[in-house]
């Protein structure tokens, strides 16, 4: 699409704008051809223009902003550069629009973040971005290379085009299973028995019984108690899907919204399988029993949050981190609330889960950038030195303050995360050790986890602070469950295929998604017969482009 925009711009006689743009990239860095000296102290100060993602709540101290804050000042000082923002916009549509505008004006900033691999590919095909292979090899620190290598090559593979590394990928480690969070204080109050065998896993039937018991007992005397609630899109692509039926679907071996190959090597779209039909029939059963209420087809996340805070429901599915930003609302309203997360298992007592795509977003470097090695040096500074070097934080106490007060990560030059595939569990093991006395706070590697330690100890000392409550739930319950599942070998991993957007996907995918969501809601709410409804959906889905897309993806996979 963008390629087309560019072409039409050129053809409408506005080519002059492109000529103009030659001047702008790099700003002051006009005469540095001869001085590709990489040691920051030996060359003149260079200007770097960035495309920056922002967030609505960056929490800057008064006076700081995106272009001038502690992180930027540190990078400017350490690398002898001058960072300016070519554009800033909020992540999502607003940012993507700015990227498109920059592209259509024929000018991209020296470095910018892009949200998808498709964009990297387009930029590559339009010859607008720099091959980073040699800079990565030469400049990336061993630690940074280790981080990427922890994905067994998948991370860098995703940014390699014709053997060239065209972008710096953000890592996306496995978020784990979608947990079933249950109100523990209700369970205790009603004298119910959950998880009698203490293996921290429940079957779908057990979850159903608890939801039913909560509904009948209605511990907080709410109007309209609801057993459990799902949002209108039902399934989610992330394995840890919040407010979704993912946990139920995975437990019967259905992987909605995922592409993967079966034993015979046949490519499968998870939402069209027999297992998916089974998953939908389970949810339909819940709906018929009244455990899932009539409003299923209109539920938003805000509604579900209010069901929880009002005490109408005590069972919710979600990621390990929902305690930090969703369940916190429950605690604010009701200080007695306590949740316990459980994994939902398949018939063999294992937890089915899908691997993540290992990379999410990307930073690209303009072909016109005079100092591409700086991208790698910024990478080293923020994802190696800042994590591992205490001296750096001592030299820049204001950066340390940022970390402690939770100034948002968008303040950094690159709004990406580069962490090892197992960082979540690794960091947690240190936190756990410090909490139960076998380790110390100093051994906890990251500032974030250290502040979690402080929040948890403060809460345990009786402050009752909401942050402490959140961290206890997200870390010592949520992440703890993930690490338990890993340690006990309870996971049954599936490695899906994450295809690039194919031609037919570009034109038909949005419609197919709508078809899927609408069909599933109809099936679950009993508006159509389950067998007939599901078969019609599969038939329509295939006819409306699904089959073509499948063959395009097969081709894509065999070509790579």
């Amino acid at each position: 699409m963008r390629k087309k925009i560019l072409r039409s711009v050129l053809s409408t006689g506005l080519a002059c704008s492109v000529a103009f743009s030659l001047v702008a990239c790099g700003g002051a860095a006009t005469d540095t051809d001869s001085q590709s000296v990489s040691d920051p102290d030996e060359r003149e100060k260079v200007s770097i223009a960035l495309g920056r993602q922002t967030t609505a709540n960056p929490k800057f101290p008064e006076g700081d902003n995106y272009e001038d804050n502690a992180y930027i000042r540190m990078a400017e000082e350490e690398l002898n550069i001058d960072i300016t923002d070519a554009f800033e916009a909020e992540s999502g549509d607003d940012y993507n629009r700015q990227v498109s505008l920059a592209l259509s004006a024929g000018e991209i900033p020296d470095m910018m973040k892009v949200a998808s691999k498709d964009e990297v590919k387009e930029l590559y095909e339009n010859d607008l971005i720099m091959d980073l292979t040699k800079y990565y090899d030469e400049y990336a620190s061993d630690y940074v290379k280790e981080l990427y290598d922890s994905f067994e090559g998948r991370a860098l593979e995703n940014v390699t085009f014709d053997g060239m590394m065209m972008a710096i990928p953000a890592t996306a480690s496995d978020p784990g299973t979608s947990m079933c969070w249950i109100r523990q204080d209700w369970v205790d109050g009603l004298g119910l028995e959950v998880d009698g065998d203490g293996d921290r896993c429940l079957t779908v039937d057990e979850v159903r019984e608890i939801a039913k018991a909560f509904m009948t007992a209605n511990p907080e005397n709410a109007e309209n108690p609801v057993g459990m609630a799902f949002d209108i899109s039902l399934t989610s692509q992330g394995s840890d899907g919040t407010n979704s039926i993912n946990a139920i679907a995975y437990s019967v071996g259905a992987y909605p919204r995922h592409w993967y190959t079966d034993e015979s090597g046949q490519l499968i779209y998870g939402s069209t399988t027999e297992q998916m039909k089974e998953a939908l029939s389970i949810v339909r059963g819940l709906f018929e029993e009244g455990i899932v209420d009539e409003q299923l087809g209109t539920r938003t996340w805000d509604d579900i949050t209010s069901l929880l805070t009002n005490g109408q429901t005590g069972v919710v599915f979600g990621s390990w981190h929902i305690a930090d930003w969703l369940l916190n609302n429950v605690y604010t309203l009701n200080n007695n609330a306590v949740f316990t997360p459980y994994a939902v298992v398949n018939s063999e007592g294992k937890v089915n889960c899908t691997h993540s795509n290992s990379t999410g977003e990307f930073v690209v470097v303009s072909k016109k950038c005079k100092h591409p090695e700086l991208a790698i040096m910024i990478l080293n500074l923020f994802y190696d030195d800042m994590v591992n070097s205490d001296e750096l934080l001592e030299k820049y106490p204001e950066v340390n303050d940022y970390l402690n007060t939770g100034v948002d990560g968008t303040a950094r030059p690159f709004n990406i995360e580069v962490k090892s595939n197992t960082y979540l569990l690794d960091e947690y093991s240190k936190l756990k050790a410090a909490l139960n006395g076998t380790g110390t706070k100093e051994e906890i590697p990251t500032v974030e986890e250290k502040s979690n330690y402080d929040a948890i100890t403060a809460y345990n000392n009786g402050t009752g602070d909401v942050t402490g409550w959140c961290k206890i739930h997200s870390r010592t319950k949520g992440v703890d469950l993930l690490s338990y599942l890993t340690d006990k070998g309870l996971y049954n991993w599936v490695t899906p295929i994450y295809p690039e957007t194919t031609n037919t996907m570009e034109t038909n995918w949005a419609n197919l998604q709508t078809l899927e969501e609408e069909s599933f809601i109809k099936i679950v709410t009993g508006a159509v017969d389950i067998d007939e409804g599901f078969d019609t959906f599969v038939k329509d889905w295939k006819a409306q482009g699904g089959d073509t897309i499948a063959s395009e993806i097969t081709e894509q996979v065999t070509n790579n």
Binding site: N57, E88, D94, S104, A172, T242, N329, T332, G409
Partner: protein, 297 residues
């Protein structure tokens, strides 16, 4: 028969009134809801318990707005934008509309200009070409990027033209006989007679530039230079999209702190205030001005 008829018309009238009242309420209730939310405790808001009356009345949200530097910066930018845009609009629209109402003898290229105007009203370059023009004029990130692309609202020009045409020709003739120059005629005779329609186009200009958020999203690339409506737009967060994107848990936490809806509601209320205060004063001109322009002699 007569009774029947009057009964029928009375029923008809009450049905119409009922419909109008329902429509009015439909427009009013979301506003009242926002106001109620802004005065409610955040817990009650999260629990969806606020309807038309505040629950757990508190001024917390408004106190927090007072401390929000970016809100007031954006507010000031919007005020400046409205004032400058208003002056520029009036300066350009009034003389233009006046010239366009001259006879063809007085203004030989009148029809060509008129066609140009109509053409520009119906067709425009679209978002990207306009962006490139603004960019190459080095207007990005300045208040002028928000003002100059809309400096001559053609709809307002046509409205003024229609109004000027309705003025009695004798007025101007009398002024000319007294020896006034065309400029004097415009400033001393025509403009003072046109207050209602000038108020109308002024109102269009004010409302338009105060409420516009999209211009800010396109042309302003520094968050701290956002006008107020763009800033408020950036506060409406879709948590679900964020979670499904690659946002990390600390970003989610920061965002969920902010997605406390009563604070955002309070910001909306404060941002709408200036227009609510101006409207009653200009509204009588608005209705009068529209109609007056429409009737020609």
């Amino acid at each position: 028969m007569i009774d029947n008829k009057s009964l029928g018309s009375r029923v008809r009238l009450s049905v119409i009134y009922l419909l109008v009242i329902i429509l009015g309420l439909l427009c009013l209730m979301p506003l009242i809801n926002i106001v109620a939310i802004s005065f409610s405790g955040s817990a009650a808001v999260t629990a969806n318990r606020v309807g038309l009356v505040p629950v757990d009345f508190t001024l917390m949200a408004y106190e927090r707005i007072l401390e929000d530097g970016q809100f007031w910066r954006s507010f000031a930018i919007s005020v400046a934008r409205v004032l400058i845009a208003l002056i520029i609009n009036l300066l350009l629209v009034i003389p233009m509309a006046y010239a366009m109402t001259r006879t063809k003898d007085e203004f030989r290229f009148r029809d060509i200009y008129m066609n140009l105007l109509i053409f520009a009203m119906l067709f425009n370059g679209g978002m990207i070409p306009t962006y490139i023009v603004v960019k190459n004029l080095h207007l990005l990130n300045t208040i002028w990027a928000l003002i100059l692309p809309g400096a001559v609202p053609i709809f307002s020009v046509i409205l003024m033209m229609n109004f000027f045409r309705g003025l009695p020709a004798a007025l101007e003739e009398a002024a000319y006989i007294d020896g006034a120059s065309p400029l004097q005629v415009l400033l001393k005779v025509v403009v003072p007679c046109s207050k209602p329609s000038i108020a109308t186009i002024a109102l269009f200009s004010i409302v338009g530039s105060w409420n516009d958020f999209f211009g800010g999203l396109i042309y302003i690339q520094k968050v701290e230079k956002y006008p107020i409506m763009t800033y408020i737009q950036s506060l409406s967060i879709n948590l679900q999209e964020l979670v499904n994107g690659a946002a990390n848990s600390s970003t989610l936490q920061n965002v969920s702190e902010l997605s406390n809806r009563n604070l955002n509601a309070a910001k909306i209320v404060v941002a709408v205030m200036p227009l609510l205060m101006i409207y009653p004063f200009l509204q009588r001109y608005l209705i009068g001005g529209m109609v007056m322009g429409a009737v020609k002699e």
